[in-house]
């Protein structure tokens, strides 16, 4: 799934343009009455970067994106799109941005063709340029089959793709996509991810999602927010390394051993031995290390010494999901997290 060259290019691009972020959010705060939805969020996205914007429902993802797109005004803080301040230079900022709002709203009584033509005209595309872009986008997002059907009669997947087409129609240097793959089937998800990867080298892209595998598949960086605050910001691989199960060893023994925990307890780096989800107690084990320590050699040596026969043995990388759960539910983890 992971298209290595594309991701590598994306990272190179980010380094080159690191001095001039395309989407810059500084100390953003949004209050609705007494409720603080976004509480001091800052991040910057350079050309070539795909930033995965994660967080549980209600964490402030959509509110942040609505402010970045110029729909809501922030209570405090600053947002710049391609160098244009979203509050003071709104039209220029909006021109440089492609935005897919949550739920991909569109005018239901229009056809995708008339809808996209409308967006193109409002964005000031000339007739010939519009026709060219329309053909290109329709081809890229595979809308040809439904181009002349009213949008309200389309399936959820097609509606989402129409919204996505609208966001990229004017080929903007910055893209903010709020859950672009929500409601798509696995094939369509794959297509949209490929599209994002193809666009990545010369755009700055923010993608919000709650599908964590998507982050590992397309994003060069991930920001996790919880209750309006950034709780993690880093490459997906680095975030995964923070999983409590990173470098854990999964074992399946040939015969049942009751006291494996006691036998491995004093191996350097081992904190505990558990039965993995769905495993057979006494045969399947998960040996958890202290904070990502590499323990496989120690564990293997001890098993050899004690003569325990192994059927399979593998190192776990941990899952982004574990990190996500850790960061967004426990207060202890949050104070430890880098802001």
């Amino acid at each position: 799934m992971l298209d290595e060259p594309a991701v590598r290019n994306a990272r190179v691009g980010a380094v080159e343009d690191a001095a001039a972020p395309m989407i810059e959010i500084v100390d953003l705060v949004k209050r609705f009455g007494p409720f603080t939805a976004v509480d001091g969020v800052s991040f910057a996205v350079g050309r070539g970067e795909v930033l995965g914007f994660l967080g549980p429902n209600g964490a402030g993802k959509s509110t942040t994106m609505k402010m970045a797109a110029g729909f809501l005004s922030p209570t405090r803080g600053r947002i710049a799109i391609a160098g244009h301040d979203v509050e003071n230079d709104a039209i220029a900022a909006k021109r440089a941005l492609g935005y897919l709002p949550e739920g991909a709203p569109a005018y239901g009584d229009m056809t995708p063709r008339s809808f996209l033509e409308f967006l193109g005209r409002v964005r000031g595309l000339e007739r010939a340029a519009l026709a060219g872009r329309l053909a290109q986008v329709v081809d890229e997002i595979q809308l040809a089959a439904v181009l002349d059907q009213p949008i309200e009669t389309l399936s959820k997947g097609f509606k989402r793709r129409v919204g996505l087409a609208g966001a990229i129609l004017h080929d903007p240097p910055c893209l903010i996509l709020d859950e672009p793959t929500d409601g798509l089937d696995p094939n369509q998800k794959h297509e949209v991810r490929n599209l994002i990867r193809r666009m990545a080298p010369d755009k700055a892209i923010v993608v919000s999602t709650h599908i964590l595998e998507e982050v590992e598949a397309v994003c060069s960086r991930a920001v996790i927010i919880d209750r309006g605050r950034v709780v993690a910001d880093g490459k997906p691989a680095d975030l995964v390394a923070r999983s409590p199960f990173h470098n854990a060893v999964r074992l399946r023994l040939i015969a049942t051993v009751a006291d494996l925990g006691a036998r491995l307890a004093d191996v350097a780096g081992v904190t505990r031995v558990t039965t993995p989800e769905g495993g057979t107690p006494g045969r399947d084990f998960l040996v958890v290390p202290a904070q990502g320590a590499s323990i496989i050699e120690g564990v293997a040596a001890r098993l050899r010494q004690t003569g325990i026969a192994i059927e399979t043995m593998a190192v776990e990388h941990g899952k982004l999901e574990d990190v996500f759960r850790d960061l967004t539910t426990s207060d202890a983890a949050r104070t430890g997290a880098r802001p």
Binding site: F71, A90, L97, P101, E102, P105, Y107, S114
Partner: protein
């Protein structure tokens, strides 16, 4: 300015994409006919003018215009397209103006389709066509004022029925504010200046002035400034209500 046109064109096409436009126009023409010929005694009066036709416009608009205006912003908010529209590179006023102009153009189309009325009266007698033209201008201006109020109130809610009822109530107050039933409530205690101010907000007074064939600046200014004020309020309401 170009974006105002683009938005207005999309909106206007939207009216005709659904049965709404046709239902509205048919009901409108049907009701103007009934009011003019049966309630207004068009023939019995024996005069070649369109006074019975125009006389009922304020009351007709009171219910028909809110039906057009109710969906202007309430629907955008309900379907979420407001987020799309307001993140396009157009200023808020352009979006408001575009939608308003489309709705106004639509009522103008409906009004223009009453031309058989004009043909009839010209066939039967020799009316003062200048007065009739003034009547049409007055009617269109008044429709614009109802629409602007409706557009503003439509932005306050995502429920079209609520928008409709609110608009009917507010428009009703504007329509009758010159009538004795309203003025009597003030004249007992308020100074004459206040009574006059309330009376001067009456759509009926201004409309009847124009329909009588006297296009006075004060009547035009009244409707124009009311439209602008309502649309300015519309912008404020949209800004306030965006988050909810």
């Amino acid at each position: 300015m170009k974006s105002v046109c683009t938005i207005a064109r999309r909106e206007l096409a939207g009216y005709f994409a659904t049965p709404l436009a046709y239902v509205f126009i048919i009901v409108y023409l049907f009701l103007t006919g009934i009011f003019t010929f049966y309630v207004g005694n068009f023939f019995e009066r024996g005069e070649a003018d369109l006074v019975p036709f125009f006389d009922f416009h304020p009351w007709l608009y009171l219910f028909l215009i809110p039906a057009i205006a109710m969906r202007l912003w309430a629907e955008e908010r309900k379907s979420g397209t407001i987020e799309l529209l307001l993140t396009l590179p157009v200023p808020l006023w352009a979006a408001i103006a575009g939608k308003f102009i489309a709705a106004w153009a639509f009522t103008a189309i409906a009004l223009a389709l009453t031309f058989p009325m004009w043909i009839t009266v010209n066939y039967l007698g020799e009316p003062d066509n200048g007065v009739i033209l003034a009547g049409y201008i007055g009617s269109l201006l008044m429709a614009g004022a109802y629409l602007a109020i409706g557009s503003c109130l439509s932005a306050a809610t995502r429920n079209q029925v609520v928008a409709f009822v609110l608009t009917v109530v507010v428009c009703f107050l504007f329509t009758v504010s010159g009538a004795p039933m309203v003025l009597d409530a003030f004249s007992g205690w308020a100074p004459q200046a206040i009574v006059d101010t309330v009376a001067s907000f009456s759509f009926l007074t201004h409309f009847n002035g124009i329909v009588a064939g006297v296009i006075e600046a004060k009547d035009i200014v009244f409707f124009a400034s009311l439209i602008l004020a309502a649309l300015a309020a519309n912008a404020i309401v949209i800004d306030m209500k965006k988050a909810s």
